[in-house]
Amino acid sequence: MARAEHQPPQGNEPAPAEHPGGAHPRLRQAGGALVVDGLHVAYGRSVQALRGVSITVPPSGIVTVLGSNGAGKSTLLRAISGTLFLHHGAVEGGTITYNGQNLRGRDAAAAVRAGIVQVPEGRRVFAGLSVAENLQAGLLGTGDRRSARAKQARERVLELFPVLAERETQHAGLLSGGEQQMLAIGRALMAGPKLLLLDEPSLGLAPMMVGRIAQVIREIAEQGTAVLLVEQNAAVALGLAETAYVLDVGEVRLTGPAAELARTDEVRRLYLGDHDESGHAGTPAEGTPHETPAAATSAPRATLRRWRG
């Protein structure tokens, strides 16, 4: 597996045309739906959050992006979903295309219209609105709230999450953490996305609930919606995804089929060995190595230090 070279901050110069590191074009499938190529993102003038990141999400299936806190995972999602500006961030180089349509520099509404919907980290349901209104809000980007398609989407969501049907009139803020996560995913599904972006769906959930959510993600993918899953909980993510990328300090460090990646020493040591990981006790996804010598994680690597960004 290739390892990206550390690159100095690019400043305002356009990003180099070639791939700065290890994202291998050979992994790109023909007709790949979402293509992020050589993406550079900065916050303010000096803080480089992404340096030449390239990933590809095929039209179906689950792709995961792993990385520690501050590796740039959320930044990647923000760049795709068009919410960078809300965080003072800007794309400084590279391209983002979906089905050949440019998404770089477009706003969140454009991404939604193109069929990409993100479930934000920490769920972020509209606490003061009822469950039903939250689901309605998921339709706001589509422009039609009363059509048959909207009704269908609603039925699909309630089928997926029966608990939401029971709680329809309740304020979303009163739901449990797991229920809120379901609502957040359900809300995103209302728009009928072709590609669902999930930002740390397992964060802060009880192990039981993590399993449920993982199950739901798999179901969504099986129904034909592509999923880009960003996770710190590598055990869960690698169990779900076909393809995985590892982000570190704003660069793609490792990439490959998830199962293959899960067997590499580096990933085992860095992402699967920590017994504190909440997901550890969770999903017994096949092919995921469980026992990694704890000693391997004892010396934190410099590259995994919390990186401000």
Partner: protein, 296 residues
Amino acid sequence: MTKLSEIVLNGLALGSVYALIALGFVVIFKASGVMNFAHASLLLLGGYVIAQLHDELGFAGALLVGVVVTAAGAGLIEMLFIRGLGKVELHVLTILTIGIDILLTTELVRRIGSDKLSLGDPWGAKSVEVFGANVAQARIAAIVVAVVLITLFFMAFRYTAWGLSMRAASEDREAAALMGVRMKRVQLVAWCVAGALAAVAAVFLTASPTPGLDRTTGFVALKAFPAAVLGGMDSALGALIGAMMIGLTEALAAGYQSDLDALGGGASGIAPYVVMILILLWRPTGLLGSKELSRV
């Protein structure tokens, strides 16, 4: 008893007008996070346009144009000044609206000069008897129109895509953006709605038995500040309750002034502020305002 019912009715009418203004404050605050000090000049703008046009277009036509112009003016302020600033300190946006208010007010005052303009409203000095009290028709009209508009407003807020977008966005801007809500459009509409409400308020502020529109008419918007704040700045229902409280307090303090001599007389002008301070001491974010979520 006649006195009391007269005072209460007038207080409610006053409260209705304040409510129209205060709702504008709340909508703008929810959309852009700013307390809009330029509202005073928008109100004056609406009144001025109606006053200038009612001879030619008749009252209804002038009202329509006035509402549209004021809504457009508010929208223009949003597009030119507020939108581009993005994330800045709360004060900065607030003070920016003060700057805009100074510009717009100066121009309008220069045009109005010493004039007292009639808005050509159809009620004149006619009055009706309600519960044995004589109340100006314009006051009754103010209550009726305010009830209709506020009901429409709440329905729009509850059931339309814009209303849902507004509520979602004021709960969580980023999450709303991720749902594909076009924030710019939602904000623009919010400002326009607030502007339109201000223009309607201008009509009832200047209709008989008040003296017509003059250069100081916009000041009344200042009294809607306490209304919006004591109800909770991000709560439309709170604004409505606050406006009614302020209207009634003011009318009662003025009507029963002789019993309030200890306060030095003329206390009705400051009654709204006293009520507001007391309520804020009790509830620092107003009656129905949401607690600020603090994030580190």
